[in-house]
């Protein structure tokens, strides 16, 4: 494969000639190798796939990524290697695809304020027995306040987003798609929810350090 400077990559990819065909092929192959490496070395959830299946997956993702790179070529600022910038796009394409596949059955509508977001204090105490009834009562009291803060300080949308993202670990972009928003806006929504919750709890005299200590094993 030809080694190119950033300027050569841009020139070759934007010139209608045989050079463009070669540059597209080189870019696609480079992205495919990077994606294959990531899929085969880092994704334990894909460990059951054969090398052939992973190769095919990497090929398909690299094809999509190459198209995405070409669509966004004007936004390359030139402050990194071109191939690093292109790989960033390829990583987003690949991981987004994997997230969508993994959470294809997730329905945000199943996450509602009627859910018991936090475990009942009694259950928590059974799970982590305390040496005395006073501590159990203290936990129960704090748990009630946390639950109350969750329901009163947050909007339904914030509650839903916080549970899905922070507690269930659902990727932002999966939740954002179902909320009809984008990942950036959802991040801000969840961030605001965290801050509101913290403010509400601290207003009730519950510092984070105190709660972490109280619920330690």
């Amino acid at each position: 494969m030809i080694e190119r400077t950033n300027e050569q990559w841009i020139a070759d990819l934007t010139t209608s000639s045989a050079g463009q065909t070669q540059a597209l092929q080189d870019l696609r192959e480079r992205l495919q190798r990077g994606i294959f490496y990531y899929l085969s070395r880092e994704r334990s959830d894909l460990a059951q796939l054969s090398t052939q299946e992973l190769t095919q997956m990497a090929e398909d993702l690299a094809q999509d990524a190459t198209l995405r790179v070409m669509e966004n070529l004007d936004s390359f600022r030139g402050d990194s290697r071109f191939t690093t910038w292109a790989t960033k796009i390829a990583v987003r394409v690949a991981i987004s695809d994997l997230r969508r596949a993994r959470y294809k059955d997730f329905r945000l509508d199943d996450v509602t304020a009627e859910d018991e977001l936090l475990p009942a204090a009694a259950n928590l105490n059974n799970h982590n027995p305390l040496p005395n009834p006073e501590s159990a009562a203290e936990r129960s009291d704090v748990m009630t306040k946390i639950d109350s803060a969750l329901r009163e300080a947050l909007t339904d949308r914030q509650y839903q987003a916080l549970e899905a993202v922070a507690l269930r670990g659902v990727p932002l972009e999966v939740v954002a798609e179902q909320m009809g928003t984008n990942r950036n806006a959802l991040y801000k929504l969840v961030h605001d929810a965290r801050r509101k919750l913290r403010t509400s709890l601290e207003a009730q005299g519950l510092s984070m350090d105190y709660m972490m200590d109280l619920f330690q094993d």
């Binding site: 960033k88 990583v91 475990p119 982590n128 801000k188 961030h191 984070m208 709660m211």
Partner: protein
């Protein structure tokens, strides 16, 4: 499991930083930062605001870590073959 759920909530609140870099701003720094981190740079010293965002945002963290991994592999000649 129950303790885990409560821990996740408290940790999530604790990690909420004040300056609030968003995902788009963070992503715009990725390529330069990833090259430096792959070469041994310390993200905390290079761009603490990005580090703070990555602590809060698992989506961005997963993508940044993957990018650094691939750059390191490329620099080390580990991606020269498509298959093992």
């Amino acid at each position: 499991m129950l303790q885990d759920q409560l821990d996740k909530l408290l940790q999530s609140i604790l990690r909420a930083h004040e300056d609030g870099m968003d995902c788009e701003s963070c992503n715009a720094e990725f390529e330069c930062l990833a090259e430096q981190v792959a070469a041994g740079g310390d993200i905390h010293a290079l761009l603490p605001a990005v580090e703070a965002h990555l602590t809060c945002c698992s989506d961005c963290r997963e993508e940044f870590e993957a990018l650094v991994l691939i750059i390191r592999a490329e620099n080390g000649g580990l991606t020269s073959q498509l298959t093992d």
